[in-house]
């Protein structure tokens, strides 16, 4: 059994890599077709044509597209993503800092989404039909549709502009270096509160709605009624029988959500000017920084594949029957 799982997982990883490679090629072609040249930023009219050509040469842009594509393929398979035009550094070292921030930020937001929505569902389950349950459903519907930029700006207006409790943007304050370690951590925390709320609100609402729906569906099934008739406590039924069944369809949604978060939370990063992958990618697109765009999109695709795989493995862990589906 374990061998079969291993084979299917490796098969899946290979196909995913092929898909990611195709995607990167697609972006490669798209980016070369687009109007505007990355060299323009570094060339002024006073520059002699020879020097201007040298700029293009240093970017490997003087050769025909097909040769460039071969270089690109070679680079991808050796793991070397080239040198960013804008930062004048290898792409991986540019991406590293941004990715670490995004990893931390996304994981934290994801944890918050899972934990908060779980507890909200628990509350609304025990008080089901009551005022709390109904208002939670309404609020989560509203949060679900609220665009993150509207929510973020409203939060900034209320908590930063009017009440002056929290900072409006950035990740640390100006005098950050002078603080003691505890104060530095506190400073980071204070700066991350509003972004985390902005990023997590929609996710909390999604998880809450899905979990609430699937719990409502399972609650009336005959095995639950049977358990209740046998005298199990409500708490026991909820924790051991309802939740594992209800959580199964949620795992794949959570996998996709986490993958998207790891690709970068573009809007939240723009509102609060945070140094994350989303803004890095978009800045690279606007600057026509080809290697950086490809690098960022590769990482985003990779994260998506990994989290989906993880979600499937967790699903198998919960329900062994799903191995068959995965093997097919």
């Amino acid at each position: 059994m374990n061998k079969e799982i291993l084979i299917s997982v490796s098969k899946r990883i290979i196909t995913s890599f092929v898909v990611i490679f195709l995607l990167a090629s697609f972006i490669f072609v798209l980016i070369r077709l687009a109007p505007g040249s990355p060299t323009q930023k570094f060339i002024s009219p006073q520059l002699s044509p020879e020097l201007a050509n040298n700029v293009a040469k240093s970017f490997n842009l003087d050769k025909p597209i097909f040769t460039q594509y071969i270089y690109f393929v070679k680079n991808i398979f050796t793991g070397d993503l080239g040198i960013s035009y804008n930062y004048r550094m290898p792409v991986l070292s540019v991406v590293k800092d941004y990715f670490l921030f995004t990893l931390f930020f996304a994981s934290l937001s994801f944890l918050i989404q899972m934990i908060v929505s779980y507890f909200l569902v628990k509350i609304s389950f025990y008080k089901s039909g009551g005022i709390i349950d109904k208002s939670l459903s309404k609020i989560s519907l509203i949060l679900f549709v609220t665009p993150s930029f509207v929510l973020g700006l409203m939060l900034v207006y209320i908590f930063s502009v009017q009440l002056d409790w929290l900072p409006t943007s950035g990740i640390k304050s100006i005098y950050h270096e002078d603080f003691s370690l505890a104060n530095q951590i506190w400073d980071y925390a204070v700066h991350l509160i509003l972004p985390l709320i902005t990023l997590s609100a929609a996710g909390i609402a999604v998880f809450y709605l899905y979990l609430r729906d699937s719990i409502a569906e399972i609650y009336n099934q005959s095995f639950i009624i049977n358990l209740r008739a046998n005298g199990y406590t409500e708490k026991n039924i909820f924790n051991k029988h309802i939740i594992p069944n209800a959580i199964r369809p949620l795992v794949s949604i959570a996998g996709i959500e986490f993958g998207i978060l790891l690709g970068g939370a573009l809007i939240t990063e723009v509102i609060f000017s945070l140094p994350g992958m989303g803004r890095l990618t978009v800045d690279a697109i606007f600057n026509r920084d080809f290697p950086l765009v490809i690098g960022c999109s590769l990482i985003a695709g990779l994260m998506m594949v990994l989290t989906n795989l993880l979600a499937d493995l967790i699903k198998i862990k919960i329900d062994k029957r799903l191995v068959k589906d995965l093997l097919q």
Partner: protein, 441 residues
């Protein structure tokens, strides 16, 4: 519980309100178009040049407002639909559609109108500004076409109007200006204040009454933005961008998604494999980056936003329809229909379409709200439909800069965006519940 209002009653109320408040305007619009047709028949030179976008826009709204009751009454399906009781989300959708169709009639201002920014900028909601008007110089021997242009400009507002001066306050004085001493006359001067700056204008140039200029007031229901543009007008016009992008890209997704899924279902394995891989390719990447990539590289305008959002949205529909068709093909009624010898076209229309139409409609409604959300997010990022036409997302983006001074620039468009999305979603959920009834706790 009070009896519920029916949809047709609400529509009638809206219609009556529009007619009562804008009767004068509608009559003058009718006169304008009559004049236009008359000049066109007379083959006046340069008359066709007057047919600009806003002229045709107002014409279409005018035609719609006449046709609306006829359509509502004559088409049977719509007649049955509007007999249903009204709820909140339908109210919002109806209001949006009314804004979409009748924007030039609901608000008589140009969404880009700006004048005397120092007085009109960043006004809070429910405030008003005084203004004085210059006299219209009516020359005696103006041609018919000049008369027509004057009439048109007074009815269909331009984004700039010379004749209007917004003021904080004014003072009429009989001071002696140098010219008046030379000419030995003493025309009364009007002093007006604009945000601390004093300016003079002779009274005779203004529309006046008993030696005092007539002061009118302009109301800003939702306040004004950083250029003194009326936010209410911009929101009414902004609904058009949202709905247009929504309809356009949902239609595109529908065509692509259904087309591909039929191809995948019919032509056997190979096409299916390729399209499925392609779908995986796009689903394996956060869509927003691809959308931003394409729009940033190739430029963003209304058409490109519609196309890109339409292209990024068909995958879920494709997967849905494909699985539905696969399950229908195993059903007995389909197999028997096939054995009877129905052609592919008949199979499609009689056996497949009626079954898939319900989940497809639900999917499209959610897709619609997603597209509106995406459009506003793109506008917020500066990759929207351009600056010539207002859009809700772009309005919020403009408000971000003035967040310390003016909350209404963010909260009002934001609130309207949320209410819109909420209504669309709740209608989608309702239809979904109707087709997939579930027993809940």
């Amino acid at each position: 519980m009070n009896p519920k209002i029916k949809i047709w009653q609400f529509l009638l109320l809206l219609y009556a309100t529009l007619i009562v408040f804008r009767l004068e305007y509608l009559v003058s619009l009718a006169e304008l178009y009559f004049e236009f047709v008359r000049l066109l028949i007379k083959q006046e030179p340069n008359i066709s040049r007057q047919m600009d976008f806003r002229f045709i826009d107002a014409l279409i709204s005018f035609v719609f407002i006449i046709l609306l009751p006829i359509v509502l009454i004559s088409v049977k399906k719509i007649r049955r639909l509007i007999l249903n009781p009204l709820n909140l989300s339908e109210t919002v959708i109806i209001l949006l559609v009314v804004c979409f169709m009748f924007a030039p009639i609901i608000t008589r201002q140009n969404p880009n109108f700006q004048k005397n920014i120092s007085v009109t900028k960043l006004l809070p909601p429910l405030s008003s500004v005084k203004y004085i008007e210059l006299k219209n110089p009516v020359s005696m021997n103006e041609t018919e076409i000049e008369k027509f242009v004057r009439q048109k400009n007074s009815i269909i507002p331009e984004s700039f109007n010379d004749a209007v001066i917004f003021i904080d306050s004014l003072k009429v004085s009989l001071s002696k200006s140098p010219e008046s001493i030379v000419k030995n006359t003493n025309p009364p001067l009007v002093k007006y204040y604009q945000n601390g700056i004093v300016k003079n204008i002779p009274l005779e140039k203004l529309i006046e009454k008993n030696g005092y200029p007539t002061i009118k007031e302009k109301y800003f229901l939702f306040g004004s933005d950083e250029f003194g543009r009326d936010i209410f007008t911009r929101i009414v016009y902004g609904s058009r961008i949202s709905l247009l992008v929504g309809f356009g890209s949902v239609l595109l997704s529908l065509i692509i998604g259904i087309g591909f899924s039929f191809i995948a279902a019919q032509k056997g394995n190979f096409a299916d494999l390729i399209i499925s891989r392609f779908t995986d390719l796009f689903l394996s990447f956060p869509a927003i980056f691809l959308v931003v990539l394409i729009l940033a590289l190739f430029g963003s305008n209304l058409i490109s936003v519609i196309i890109v959002l339409g292209l990024s949205g068909w995958m879920s529909l494709f997967k849905l329809v494909k699985t539905e068709i696969a399950s229908i093909k195993k059903k007995e009624y389909f197999i028997s229909a096939e054995l009877i010898g129905l052609k592919n076209k008949n199979l499609l229309i009689r056996e497949i379409l009626p079954v898939i139409i319900a989940p497809v409609i639900v999917n499209l409604i959610f897709q619609f709200s997603n597209v509106i959300l995406a459009e506003s997010a793109l506008s917020y990022l500066g990759l929207g439909t351009g600056t010539s036409y207002p859009s809700w997302g772009a309005m919020i983006e403009a408000g971000q800069e003035y967040i310390t001074k003016s909350w209404w620039m963010i909260f009002i468009p934001g609130f309207i965006l949320i209410v819109t999305l909420l209504s669309i979603n709740s209608i989608g959920r309702k239809i979904n519940r109707f087709y997939n009834p579930k027993i809940t706790v």
